[in-house]
């Protein structure tokens, strides 16, 4: 039961990172791939009407964490207090800029909202990356299972850590570049013309940097949490994750150089999914690792919700999941294919 809920939560987080990753990545490249206002609007149109559906995976992840591991939620949300609000404010600014920039076709209005859109996407990528880095590195949990993270302490990933240190910053940079490359793949698939060509050139370069950075953070992870590697061998799921990463990488490079746009997008989704699976499987069952003392770590087994609540949730969750995917498919079939015209449909008067 606990393994199932850990898997469901991991799945929801993967859905969020992969789907929202398209939007975040495409969004932060808006000014690089779009040189004219029409091209920049094309990037927004490519993100499409389902961006908020992508974002709901994060909100629902929070809800399911609540129902399955309330103790972990209580510890983590309070511990990451300031970082959480930065994330929430970035989500607010990004959502608003996406929705309102199209309302008025006036250059200053567009410039201002485009700037907020790009900046909030960059910040989101860094914050999500830093958050993942923090989960891998661990947090300064005390014996009561609580912690409170400062933004930074002495930038060392050992002992009394802060949110940012050389390890988590490395992961943040890695995720920033990965989101950008992932978003570029989506733009290649969804656009034509100059935006498409710039995205393609950019993606070919970015994915090489991603592989280089992956090698670096793998080495760093081995320095910070060597036990994750030694603990991986008996976990077949972690190896499946690695297979995904390799297959994904091959698909990306053959896709980008063979003009197989869909293959590249599937490849980058597999690549990110594989990394997340490998990460989630190798830290399991520890959901929050303590950098102060290993015995303070919070394990899924000791902190899952008790009673029959999890059984009940296991009945309604699959129903809700099928419905959720159904709604998205109902809408998505109207938006398949490339966005073509230079103007989007947000009715400027």
């Amino acid at each position: 039961m606990i393994e199932t809920w850990y898997a469901i939560l991991s799945f929801m987080l993967v859905m969020f990172i992969v789907l929202e990753g398209f939007d975040i990545g495409a969004g932060m490249l808006q000014h690089i791939v779009g040189k004219t206002e029409a091209e920049r609007r094309l990037v927004i149109a490519a993100i499409g009407p389902l961006w908020s559906w992508h974002e709901v995976w994060l909100v629902s992840f929070g809800g399911v964490l609540f129902v399955a591991f309330p103790t972990i939620l209580a510890s983590a949300f309070a511990g990451f207090y300031l970082a959480f609000f930065l994330l929430l404010w970035s989500l607010i600014l990004r959502g608003i800029s996406l929705e309102v920039s199209g309302h008025i076709a006036e250059p200053m209005w567009r410039t201002a909202w485009n700037f907020i859109f790009v900046a909030s996407n960059l910040l989101l990528a860094i914050l999500i990356g830093a958050a993942l880095g923090n989960v891998v590195r661990g947090v300064p949990l005390n014996a009561d299972g609580k912690f409170s993270l400062a933004f930074f302490t002495n930038f060392s990933p050992y002992g009394n850590v802060g949110i940012l240190d050389w390890f988590t910053v490395s992961v943040a940079v890695f995720m920033l570049v990965t989101f950008a490359a992932h978003g570029a793949n989506a733009l290649i698939l969804k656009t034509e013309g100059p935006v498409h060509d710039r995205s393609l050139r950019l993606a070919r370069r970015l994915w090489k940097i991603v592989l280089l950075l992956l090698a670096i953070i793998t080495f760093e992870t081995w320095r910070v949490r060597p036990e994750l590697f030694s603990g991986m061998s008996p976990k077949p799921i972690a190896w499946i994750g690695l297979v995904f990463v390799i297959v994904g990488a091959v698909a990306i490079f053959t896709g980008l150089h063979g003009k197989r746009e869909l293959r590249a997008v599937i490849g980058s989704s597999l690549f990110i999914t594989g990394l997340m699976i490998a990460g989630a499987a190798s830290v399991f069952p520890i959901m929050l690792h303590s950098t102060l003392a290993p015995e303070n770590s919070l394990s899924a087994y000791q902190n899952a919700a008790a009673g029959h609540g999890l059984v009940i949730a296991l009945v309604w969750w699959p129903i809700a999941f099928i419905l959720a995917v159904g709604y998205a498919l109902f809408i998505y079939r109207y938006y398949i294919g490339k966005v073509k015209a230079a103007e989007d449909n947000q009715n400027p008067y």
Binding site: A45, P49, L50, S52, W53, E55, V56, V59, S60, G62, G63, V64, F66, V67, P70, L73, A74, F77, A78, Y81, L82, F85, W89, L91, I92, G95, I96, E99, V100, I104, K146, F147, S148, A305, G307, H308, G309, I312, W316, W317, A320, L323, A324, Y327, A328, F330, I331, Y334, Y335, I336, K338, V339, K340, A341, E343, D344, N345, Q346, N347, Y349
Partner: protein, 451 residues
């Protein structure tokens, strides 16, 4: 420690009050748009089509602000109220997760298409998408109100060995009688907000002599929905809600009413200022026997006063609670009178010529927002000093690792951000209202082609 509690309460109160300004219109307006779209689908009359598109544009702006201000609410349970989340997460986690899984996915998938995708989806599926968003918004309302109902009137739980709560009966938790009444009362209030806003825009256009067809349609639909929902919000839903409070939270009822000394044949205070230290209402105007009757159904019923309860169980801000309740009830009464008058004039065919009444209807639209906010303040202040009534005190629910300074930092951030959002919202909605319900083709709407 004390200041963490204070700032966390202020932050939650501020962010939830601000957030709820938007969903109340969403939930009310959604069904009015569904009605316009249904008429358009059936008759092909573009008056309805343009009306639906006009309100869908305003709905879209409103929805966007509602969504972005709503995301911090769920997360604040964990960030600011970690002890509460840990204590009761086994139960309220169910509804919070179900809200995301059942309601948010539905709304978020369809909203973009509802606002921008009419041509692409075609009339029938666009209508279905609109119904989906309306259903999603009400479903979301039910789940979050069930969560609140558990805090007001906890049912369906058991206590675990470590003292925390555990789900006892899922069905009694989900079908909490408090949640049922609260949902009906709250949704009627949302329909009031929606109908008053539609009416106000109709009155504006009628007074300015613009968009005559839509002005007439908005006035007709708005005042009719307004009359029905104003009647239902008072009776039976408001009445049942009050009886529920009288039965399960008698101390809250006493404080709401400024009823300091218990007794029989209890009067209902209309106006007056609570003087808590002297335990009386100053300058009061009241109706004899009315509270006994309203709370328990007969004139001589005994109603407990605040002095029947230990002081540490009194709501912590009796003055504000008293005013919140009286503002809600007073405005609700005025709404009924206004809507009866408007419908009477409409029945006589004179509404669009009654300029004084049109002015009143136009200027009335902020008051449902005030009444709804006051109603929620009544519910939430009335529950104090408990975060879960008679189980967990508010001070015990706070995140003890978060300093007051950190909470004030984020509160200041929210204040600034929400001020900007508010200005932006008013600007964009005012633009839509100034532009009016004109047909799309008339102003050359541009579209991305996806073929």
């Amino acid at each position: 420690m004390a200041d963490t509690i204070f700032w966390s309460r202020l932050q939650f109160g501020f962010t939830i009050t601000y957030h709820y300004l938007f969903p109340q219109l969403t939930m009310g307006l959604a069904w009015i748009i569904v009605y316009f779209k249904w008429k358009h689908l059936r008759t092909g009359d573009e008056t309805f089509g343009n009306a639906a598109r006009f309100w869908a544009r305003i709905f879209g702006i409103n929805f966007a602000v509602g969504v972005v201000t709503g995301i911090p609410m769920e997360f604040q349970f964990g960030t600011n109220w970690a002890a509460f989340s840990k204590f009761s997460g086994n139960i309220i986690g169910q509804t919070l997760a179900m809200e995301g899984m059942f309601a948010f996915f539905l709304e978020s998938a369809l909203i973009g298409a509802v606002v921008w995708g009419e041509k692409r989806l075609g009339p029938r599926n666009h209508f279905l998408a609109t119904v989906g968003v309306a259903l999603g918004s009400w479903l979301s309302g039910y789940f979050i109100l069930t969560t609140n109902a558990f805090m007001q009137h906890p049912v369906g739980y058991s206590t675990a060995a470590d003292g925390s709560l555990r789900l006892g009966s899922f069905s009694s938790f989900l079908l909490n009688p408090w949640a049922m009444i609260l949902f009906l009362h709250n949704q009627c209030a949302a329909l009031i907000t929606g109908s008053f806003v539609v009416t106000a825009v109709g009155a504006l256009y009628a007074l300015r002599g613009k968009f005559a067809e839509q002005a007439s349609l908005f006035l007709k639909t708005g005042t009719l929905v307004g009359l029905i929902s104003c009647a239902l919000v008072a009776f039976p839903t408001g009445d049942q809600q009050a009886k529920m409070v009288a039965k399960h939270q008698p101390v809250s009822l006493a404080a709401m009413e400024g009823h300091f000394h218990g007794g029989t044949n209890v009067e209902l205070n209309f106006i007056g200022q609570p003087n808590v230290s002297a335990e009386r209402i100053d300058n009061r105007i009241y109706m004899p026997y009315a509270l006994s009757f309203l709370a328990f159904g007969h004139l001589h019923a005994k109603v407990q006063g605040l002095d029947d309860f230990p002081k540490d169980e009194w709501p912590t801000n009796i003055e504000l609670l008293y005013y919140a309740f009286h503002v809600m009830a007073g405005l609700g009464t005025i709404f009924i009178l206004l809507m009866v008058l408007a419908n009477f004039q409409r029945w006589r065919g004179r509404l669009e010529k009654s300029r004084g009444l049109l002015w009143a209807l136009m200027l009335a639209f902020p008051f449902p927002y005030i009444a709804t906010t006051a109603g929620w303040m009544t519910a939430e202040l009335g529950r104090q000093p408990w975060i879960i009534f008679h189980i967990l005190r508010t001070g015990q629910g706070v995140s003890d690792v978060v300093s007051g300074g950190n909470v004030l930092f984020t509160l200041i951030g929210f204040t600034g951000l929400y001020f900007v959002l508010g200005v932006l919202f008013l600007f964009l909605v005012a633009r839509e209202i100034a532009h009016g319900p004109q047909s799309i083709s008339a102003n050359g709407k541009l579209e991305v082609s996806h073929d």
